[in-house]
Symmetry: C2
Amino acid sequence: MSDSFSVKSNIRDYYHVQFLDDLQGQLSALGEQENVIFIIDKNVHALFPEVFAIIKNSRLVLIDPSEKFKTIDYSQEIIRELINVQVRKNDILVAMGGGITQDIVAFISSILFRGVEWRFFPTTLLAQCDSCIGSKSSINFDQFKNLLGTFNPPSEIFIYLGFLTTLSESEIRSGIGEMLHYFFTKGIDQAQEIADNFDKLLVDRSMLKPFISESLRIKKEIIEKDEFDTSIRHIFNYGHTFGHAIEALTDYKIPHGQAISIGMDLANYISFTRGMITIEQFDEMHSILKRNIPPFNLTKDNINQYFLALSKDKKNKGVLLGCILTSGAGKVEKIFLNLDDSLKSVMLSYSDTYLVK
Amino acid sequence: MSDSFSVKSNIRDYYHVQFLDDLQGQLSALGEQENVIFIIDKNVHALFPEVFAIIKNSRLVLIDPSEKFKTIDYSQEIIRELINVQVRKNDILVAMGGGITQDIVAFISSILFRGVEWRFFPTTLLAQCDSCIGSKSSINFDQFKNLLGTFNPPSEIFIYLGFLTTLSESEIRSGIGEMLHYFFTKGIDQAQEIADNFDKLLVDRSMLKPFISESLRIKKEIIEKDEFDTSIRHIFNYGHTFGHAIEALTDYKIPHGQAISIGMDLANYISFTRGMITIEQFDEMHSILKRNIPPFNLTKDNINQYFLALSKDKKNKGVLLGCILTSGAGKVEKIFLNLDDSLKSVMLSYSDTYLVK
């Protein structure tokens, strides 16, 4: 994939992604436009004072990107700040930050003046390799995670790898989990390459570029066919159904991409017990995934709570758990599972054998 | 136009409108579907106990449709009530009520689970002849009217004329104002027919059907070309720019359709002073519009406040007021006006000569 490409969309025909070498040049060009309002993650803004000096005369709103602010109420606060800088219908909101900044700005762009244009500079690996394309925004509501949201892609996405140097190892691991999930829907080679270079990737973040590019290529192929997630895009729930419930169980202390690394491993193990793959196939994928799996265990003490979290998944059909299993790397498929005692035993046995105690 | 037709849309290909004879039959069919949740204007629900007896076992949320509740906060309350009746992604929200009910349900349908299907039974003349098609939802934000919203048409619209019998004369007049505005974008004949039958229409509401049908036909023709209101749909701001500011000035005591009747008359007068129409043309349209114009005056005491309201119109371009004027019935065009003293004089002179003191 070249350094720029377009994604076909039902919402705005095409939107564009480009890898950026000259961040300041791009910011400066945008900052000169009267109809641009920057909405920037306050932590990112603090980390790059010399970069943002160039837009200091522009209209600017800083955003506090914590999960507890991914709400309608906080979105209303940001709308008030936009009104303070005289937002108009023809303005362009330029967001810079990670997934939460993306969620809030995409959501606001959907409902302000019945829709305003927005552009996005993703600053985390997760946002660069995954969420920046795909059109989804997600907003929490009361105790319900991601209950609200819209489909509303930015018109332009600028990926600047320099942002990755400021991320913690945990944030890199989180992004790597998401990339592994894309790679495993296509085969094993790219995932193996991640595993082979794992330690180097954590340190030299510029090495991540081809993997980011490949993740986006795999995602683009599917979302262009099913932007609204009604059919084939479901394959990207691979690892996610089990991973989301791990996040809920651990109060989001395990980063998303690491939770879905466990989720994929668990999905693979269930696939093995159902005869969909051999133990050798499981082991091969496990040897890759375990590089990215943090301390976590399913036990008799938490398995019921884990099942409760699984039972609340939006993709369920009545009492059946809708999840993606595998018949081998590159071959994922949607299966409905009974949340019964035999599944509990399988999960406990998986944890006992494969997760670090 | 026959008793049913479809509207082409960018959002859901087509949506469907049908005039309904058998309200109970339709409700009963919907009520039998497990995935239907009714969201009904509480006043309408109280007025037709025998009608709603048929859906008493269905999932039901009542809505309080006052302008002060057309907010994100009240939308959140309704979402909580939907959660109480176990709303799921595949449910269909069936709204019944006027424009405010429509706004709230359309808005919620846009953001809940990134979009759920909704259907609509408009119960006011304004909603039946105008707002039920066109995809717009509008939500007030702080002191800003209709600042938020989305484009999200219902999948099905059911127009039942029986609802009109419960409306006040003022509500019928409001709908008539909106219909006159559609008719004047096409010519003078239909508007003249309204004027010729004005008193009868206020009493025998079944006579309104062909006018409702014709309004929707005119609107359909334009919104199919410009659903997102970026070009030709602007002609429907005829009477609205001046009317909205009258509503703001009078604290919304003058019903919408009557305010835009004054708004059209004022737009016509300004068109006359600019040489776009003759005084005879103005008089001919005025003789129709005056049937629907309530007591209101522009005076030295309120003209500055009126200008302030006009200056806040979203369609303005810098300091220029974007509005629709006429070069004769059926010929409307967008003009930008200076909000200066000479325009003030024209407006005061119009009020002095043509509005009832």
